[in-house]
């Protein structure tokens, strides 16, 4: 392990070394806390999608004041931008995750938004991400991050550095427009294989939808308005067996007579990057739809 000592430097006894190292670290933390208080970051900029999940959730659970709505979903819903919303709208859709994990976040945090948008998709087959939830709500880390914002994911020095780099060099071209047709086709075919057969018993589709339903009913009982929506995918995937089965399961558990469903007009005009995830422009339109829904007392 390297030593950075030079011959002219003042020496400290070995037993004091750990104390001085910890002291120096706390001093750096204090200075950095001042820095982040003066210059708040752009919360959407994570270093990777996993960190972006954490940033979204931390921004949500540590927010102050009233909130109008929250979006629960997967990487599909995560594309929906909320920065331009006219309302206090949070998106805790999780890349690699599912709306059920989002519902658990609401349950564990005790937060009850006025409106809860819920993505209904085949991704519900994924398990609730307990290790992610345990990380967010860890009994030591959770309060530390609450009281020391410099410890939050959005404040990581490398994320801040990335933001500076982006300001200098720009964000690059919009990758949505650059996906080669053969790659798009490959991705659609990959998804088509996944959607080609109904779920397996081990997937426990019914159990997962029931659990989600229990959480959503709890929220309704606490006064939240629950609105479900289905995001458009490539038309070749829409009516494959798995998509149909999951859609039916959702509609049976959450019938339109009892639950609000946001119907998406002109779904064919919404485009995807890979057959599953909306392009930026389409995601923007989707965000506007959700925004408008908030202005409507009941759909």
């Amino acid at each position: 392990v390297p030593s950075f000592t030079s011959s002219s430097e003042q020496m400290v006894p070995g037993a004091r070394f750990p104390t001085l190292v910890v002291g120096a670290a706390l001093a750096f933390l204090a200075l950095y806390s001042v820095f982040v208080a003066v210059l708040p970051p752009n919360p959407e900029d994570g270093q990777d999608q996993f960190q972006e999940n954490e940033i979204r959730v931390q921004e949500f659970v540590y927010q102050k004041g009233s909130m109008d709505a929250v979006i629960l979903g997967s990487s599909m819903g995560a594309r929906i931008p909320v920065a331009g919303s006219r309302h206090r709208l949070f998106n805790i859709s999780l890349a690699g995750g599912t709306a059920a994990t989002g519902a658990e976040i609401l349950h564990r945090s005790g937060l009850v938004p006025k409106v809860v948008f819920v993505e209904a998709s085949t991704v519900i087959l994924r398990d609730v991400d307990d290790s992610f939830l345990d990380g967010v709500f860890h009994p030591v880390a959770f309060p530390l991050r609450k009281w020391i914002p410099a410890l939050r994911e959005s404040q990581q020095p490398v994320s801040r550095l990335n933001q500076v780099v982006k300001q200098f060099f720009g964000r690059g071209r919009d990758r949505d427009a650059e996906v080669p047709p053969e790659l798009y086709e490959f991705q659609v075919q990959t998804s088509a294989r996944d959607f080609a057969s109904r779920s397996k018993p081990a997937d426990r589709l019914g159990e997962k939808i029931r659990s989600l339903g229990e959480r959503l009913d709890e929220l309704r009982a606490q006064g939240a308005r629950v609105v479900l929506f289905e995001l458009p995918v490539d038309p070749r995937l829409t009516d494959l067996p798995l998509a149909v089965e999951v859609r039916q399961a959702f509609r049976e558990r959450f019938p339109a007579e009892k639950y609000e469903w946001l119907e998406i007009p002109e779904t064919r005009s919404l485009e995807t990057v890979d057959g599953i995830h909306l392009k930026k422009a389409s995601a923007l339109r989707m965000g506007a739809l959700l925004d408008n829904a908030l202005d409507t007392p009941r759909l």
């Binding site: 392990v1 390297p2 030593s3 950075f4 000592t5 030079s6 430097e9 003042q10 020496m11 400290v12 006894p13 070995g14 037993a15 070394f17 750990p18 001085l20 190292v21 910890v22 002291g23 120096a24 670290a25 001093a27 750096f28 933390l29 950095y32 270093q47 990777d48 999608q49 996993f50 960190q51 954490e54 990380g135 860890h138 030591v140 880390a141 410099a150 410890l151 404040q155 990581q156 020095p157 490398v158 550095l161 990335n162 780099v165 060099f169 690059g172 071209r173 990758r175 650059e178 080669p180 790659l183 490959f186 991705q187 990959t190 890979d274």
Partner: protein, 476 residues
């Protein structure tokens, strides 16, 4: 229990306090042994039974070697080594052997064999047991006879000591047994190296490796098909940095923890990416494994003493088996042979004279670069143990030149590779100047600048850690 978890912090803190209580001084070895068994069984208690079985086998065999009739010492050593290897083969390689030689059909027996669980750390603690038996067989004075209860306790401690239990360094009997003692006092702790090892280890793991793993995640099939050749190459080299930071970070943490309890563990990494030859690389990478393979396999096979052909064969055998030690798929053996070929060709070209840092050769950096690139390409088999996936990745690197580069991924890979590069360059700089690469000035003191640098690293651990993940070598 992961070193980088809150649970471990609590475990280590409580144990540290208990260990140095005056009333515990006479039972420190027993306390550490019990705590180590708790550490190993945390989350999956039934695994402790296997560890205890392994301890009993090695404890009894070593006791017979030390105390038994001289004529039977070899027998007990052979039995002990065979049982260790049997445990390893049964738990780790049954599935591979069944798939390869048993037809791999869907019979009930086949399903049973392929579902045998892989206990964490089994490769490490079985190799450690073998070293114990061979060392005391070769040199009985290493561990003089003592009462059976004390013998078993000390062997239990040697095998189970938690900092090195699940991912090494693979401690040799000759290095560790003489250190075992009770009565350690707080003021005897060598705080400077212990703190440096812990801070640097956690920094390499939590800040560097855990962030790099999120960027190299996309090397998996089919995700890599969406990335450009250049981005994929950046990921491959990023994975080189990640695996170094992950494993050397673990080893440093293990050394630092052991030092807190008064024990020295061997150095496991010696700045391997500055190596100018493959033999030098293996003197610097996973040193405790490469020296184990040298001492207990290469030399007994004849080493380089039986002519060129046998030397090349021995290199290939040792590296092939060394590769297979990492995982129960043939791709790990191929990875070992990838290095075996490099070592054999290098030996053929240089006549066994390997380059060293002391020689200031022209184009030395080109040698180092070549070794690094070759080693990095080999890591693909680590990341993707399925041949077909690795082959498809190579194909993607060669053909996906038209896709747009992912600047965000490349930038993050570069940012988190910098600390690993600085770590090596700093060592290189100091080793080529008068300062040498001494870990700390004599007398257990250190400079204020060093305090500030390690303080900055600790600060980055607090504010810039990646998503928590298991250590890569835990799977072995």
């Amino acid at each position: 229990m992961l070193f980088n978890s809150w649970g471990f912090l609590l475990f280590a803190s409580v144990l540290f306090v208990l260990y140095y209580l005056p009333l515990m001084r006479r039972i420190q070895v027993g306390l550490l042994t019990l705590a180590s068994l708790f550490f190993y069984g945390y989350g999956e208690p039934k695994l402790v039974l296997l560890l205890i079985a392994s301890i009993l086998v090695n404890g009894l065999a070593s006791y017979r070697i030390v105390n038994g009739e001289a004529a039977r010492r070899r027998f007990w050593m052979a039995i002990g080594v065979a049982v260790n290897l049997g445990i390893l083969v049964f738990f780790k390689y049954s599935g591979l052997l069944w798939r390869t030689f048993g037809g791999g059909g869907e019979s009930e027996l086949g399903r049973w064999i392929t579902n045998i669980p892989l206990p964490i750390g089994i490769s490490f603690f079985t190799f450690q047991g073998i070293s114990l038996l061979v060392d005391i067989y070769r040199k009985p004075s290493l561990y003089p006879p003592r009462p059976v209860a004390r013998h078993l306790l000390e062997i239990s401690f040697f095998k189970a000591f938690f900092p090195q239990l699940v991912a090494g360094p693979i401690v040799k009997g000759r290095d560790f047994l003489p250190q075992i003692r009770t009565g350690a006092r707080l003021h005897e702790i060598d705080w400077v190296p212990a703190t440096k090892d812990l801070v640097m280890g956690f920094f390499l793991k939590m800040v560097v490796a855990d962030h790099l793993k999120e960027q190299t995640f996309w090397l998996a099939n089919p995700y890599f098909k969406a990335y450009s050749s250049f981005t994929l190459l950046a990921m491959v080299f990023g994975y080189s940095m990640q695996i170094f930071a992950d494993f050397s970070g673990y080893s440093l943490i293990a050394r630092g923890l052991a030092a807190l309890f008064g024990y020295r563990l061997p150095q496991n990494f010696d700045f391997p990416y500055i190596s100018q030859s493959f033999s030098e690389f293996w003197r610097r990478w996973h040193i405790s494994l490469s020296t184990w393979l040298r001492d207990y396999l290469y030399i007994p096979l004849g080493g380089n003493q039986r002519g060129p052909f046998r030397t090349y064969m021995n290199l290939m055998i040792v590296m092939g088996l060394g590769g297979l030690w990492h995982g129960a798929t043939w791709s790990y053996a191929i990875w070992g042979l990838w290095h075996g070929i490099a070592l054999a060709v290098e030996r053929f070209l240089t006549g066994g004279r390997s380059a060293s840092q002391a020689e200031d050769k022209p184009f030395a950096w080109l040698n180092a670069l070549f070794v690094f690139v070759y080693v990095s390409l080999g890591w693909i088999l680590f990341k993707m143990p399925q041949f077909s996936d690795a082959w498809e990745l190579f194909h993607a690197i060669a053909t996906q030149t038209a896709l747009e580069h992912n600047k965000k991924v490349i930038l993050n890979l570069a940012v988190y590779s910098v600390p690993v590069m600085l770590y090596h360059f700093h060592y290189l700089y100091r080793s080529r100047t008068a300062a040498g690469h001494a870990e700390a000035p004599a007398g257990g003191s250190s400079g204020l600048l060093t305090c500030a640098v390690y303080g900055a690293l600790l600060f980055l651990i607090l504010v810039n850690s990646g998503g928590p993940g298991a250590f890569i070598y835990f799977q072995f």
